[in-house]
């Protein structure tokens, strides 16, 4: 009796939270697919339209924004993978003076909110003469403490015998990293890649500060500029644009969600 009551409460709670969470998305979908007249009026038989999307697409250079974001997240991901892999390999399997201190510093990076560093990062980027480039958005994120930590933990769980077997077979140190460690860490790369891509796809504040032209703006910044046009707020068009910009990420997440959750579970068990 009490058990079924608890269950009922759990169910109600879960549904309530789910509905609360999906409400903005549902509203966005509703307005995006209906004419502007139905923005604040719910009618089940309101006519469906794709006009809002066409309008939004023409009103701002979203194609360019998408390209910028795509280049940005790819560059960050590749940079993070290369740096993270090499650093994690060093921390996981090599003895060198200062190793523990350096690794502690990497962990400390996990505790620092990136936003605290915005001013300092801006100065550095300006000193490098990179303001208003895609590189400027990417550089502060390429050395990722989280990535190094996650990969180090995965690499440390690789059985030593496998590495020794590869050594005996004549493989070089770098070869062992690429042919033994990396293939065995693929689930971790996948999970980390999804986190990284979704985070940098959605990142807003830093790109907003460091970019000021169409050629470099990612979709998030482009969207905010598009949404703050003074000529009245047209929710249906803004929401169509919002759906458009977050669509690819949403689809990728739905496709990969099983692997995503699984690989993090596995990473936790090891």
């Amino acid at each position: 009796m009490t058990l079924s009551l608890t269950r009922a409460l759990n169910l109600i709670g879960a549904w309530a939270l789910a509905l609360l969470w999906i409400l903005p998305l549902a509203y966005a979908v509703w307005t995006a697919f209906h004419p502007a007249a139905y923005e604040a009026r719910f009618d089940l038989f309101a006519p469906l339209t794709l006009e809002n999307f066409a309008k939004a697409w023409e009103a701002a250079p979203f194609a360019r924004y998408f390209l910028n974001t795509f280049v940005l997240v790819t560059a960050i991901l590749i940079g993070q993978f290369i740096l993270g892999t090499l650093a994690a390999y060093a921390f996981a399997r090599f003895e060198f003076p200062g190793r523990n201190i350096l690794f502690a510093l990497v962990l400390v990076q996990l505790l620092v909110m990136p936003d605290i560093l915005i001013v300092e990062n801006y100065r550095t980027i300006r000193a490098l003469g990179l303001i208003d480039t895609i590189g400027a958005i990417a550089i502060p994120y390429i050395a990722s403490g989280f990535g190094i930590f996650l990969l180090r933990q995965t690499f440390m769980s690789v059985p030593k015998e496998l590495v020794e077997a590869a050594q005996i077979e004549g493989m070089s140190t770098l070869g062992i990293l690429l042919k033994v460690y990396v293939p065995l860490a693929v689930p971790t790369y996948l999970a980390y890649g999804l986190v990284s891509v979704s985070h940098h796809w959605n990142n807003f504040l830093w790109p907003l500060i460091v970019t000021n032209s169409v050629e470099t703006r990612p979709v998030t910044v482009g969207l905010s500029i598009f949404a703050s046009i003074d000529s009245g707020v047209e929710w249906s068009v803004i929401n169509a644009a919002t759906l458009m910009t977050s669509g690819p990420l949403l689809i990728a997440f739905l496709l990969f969600q099983r692997q995503f959750v699984q690989s993090f579970m596995r990473a936790g068990i090891k």
Binding site: E161, L162, E164, A165, A166, Q167, I168, E169, G170, P183
Partner: protein, 359 residues
């Protein structure tokens, strides 16, 4: 059987004065060892005796604190494993889980950048030899223990390296499979002619497979000999006890009836349980403590005074606890050891005193 693979010829392995410290603990205390080319050498010893460390020092997976390692006429002490030109089979096989059986086997050939046609040819031969042909596309996880073992063997032999190291490769298999693989490994070694260094804690494996047994204890070599010789003429009390089942009885002179005078306490008389026989005037007067009937034989736990020992007698006769027996052995079956030097004493005249019938 004559295979193309037999082109590989073995190289000798030599260790001189090899020591290894782990912090303050010394795990190898000066190993001098010569492993002949093309022969099967088993390194045998209880766990923690340093046998695996010795193997890993040969492989280059452990650095040595002192001493030198030679493979053939090349000193390899400071070389990394990749440069030592040897292959190795690990206790848990160490197969790459993300690669198929075929890719696992040719792993080393790919590293050597051997042309793909040659790789294919050799893979075919090895797969045939080890009966792995139907499984080449599978992942190691989809194989049984014995098949995984074969893949590990395949990876070790395909590159035709002159020296092959094995670290307790059979300890994860069940008894029946172990017997089978024992014969297979021996056959492979003889067919291909490489030098085998095989680490085991199982004396049966060492004795049945090896041309030469290296017995180790507490970081030292106790004896290096052919299996027959190590059984017939153990060099130390440890070797006497370690080789043979049940182990050899080691008794002080006091335990013998009518013992000769003037025998120092440091002398130990070794008699294997299986060479003892009943004899009314035997020098060992003992009381039966326990009886274990084994079918063909009967194993008796006996005691004479304060000393317990074992005897393995033909099974026909029945014994009961409490029976008083007299036992003797032939003079050539008596081993003498000096506990001060932990060494064998060669003194046939003295030995015969402990075989003679006492009055």
């Amino acid at each position: 059987m004559k295979h193309d693979l037999a082109q590989a010829t073995g190289q000798s392995v030599t260790l001189t004065g090899v020591t290894k410290f782990w912090g303050d603990t010394q795990s190898l205390r000066g190993i001098d060892l010569s492993i002949p080319a093309g022969k099967f050498t088993a390194i045998l010893g209880p766990s923690g005796c340093g046998k695996s460390t010795t193997l890993r020092a040969i492989a280059g997976l452990e650095t040595v604190t002192d001493g030198a390692v030679w493979i053939g006429d090349r000193e390899v002490t400071a070389l990394p494993p990749a440069k030592r030109n040897l292959s190795m089979v690990f206790q848990n096989y160490a197969l790459f889980p993300h690669l198929s059986v075929a890719e696992n086997i040719i792993f080393g050939l790919k590293v050597e950048r051997l042309p793909s046609a040659e790789r294919k040819k050799r893979l075919g031969e090895v797969a045939e030899l080890l009966e792995l042909t139907p499984y080449l596309d599978r992942k190691p996880a989809a194989l049984s223990g014995g098949q995984q073992q074969r893949v590990a063997l395949g990876r070790a032999v395909i590159s035709r390296r002159p020296v092959c190291l094995m670290d307790e490769p059979l300890s994860n298999l069940d008894a029946r499979l172990r017997d089978e693989m024992r014969r297979e490994i021996r056959r492979l070694q003889q067919a291909l002619g490489f030098t085998m260094v095989y680490v085991t804690h199982d004396q049966t494996e060492a004795i049945t497979m090896a041309d030469q047994v290296v017995l180790m204890n507490e970081g030292r070599i106790e004896q290096v000999a052919a299996p027959q010789d190590i059984y017939r003429r153990p060099a130390t009390p440890f070797a006497a006890r370690f080789i043979g089942t049940p182990p050899m009885n080691l008794l002080p002179a006091r335990a013998f009836v009518g013992r000769p005078d003037g025998i120092p306490d440091s002398l130990l008389i070794g008699i294997r349980p299986e060479v003892l026989s009943l004899c009314d005037t035997g020098p060992l007067a003992a009381v039966v403590k326990a009886v274990e009937f084994l079918g063909a034989d009967t194993l008796l736990e006996l005691s004479t005074g304060a000393h317990a020992f074992l005897a393995k007698l033909p099974g026909a006769r029945r014994f009961a606890p409490g029976d008083a027996l007299r036992l003797s052995a032939r003079p050539e079956d008596i081993h003498l050891f000096d506990t001060n030097t932990a060494a064998r004493v060669e003194d046939p005249a003295l030995a015969s005193l402990f075989a003679q019938s006492a009055t």
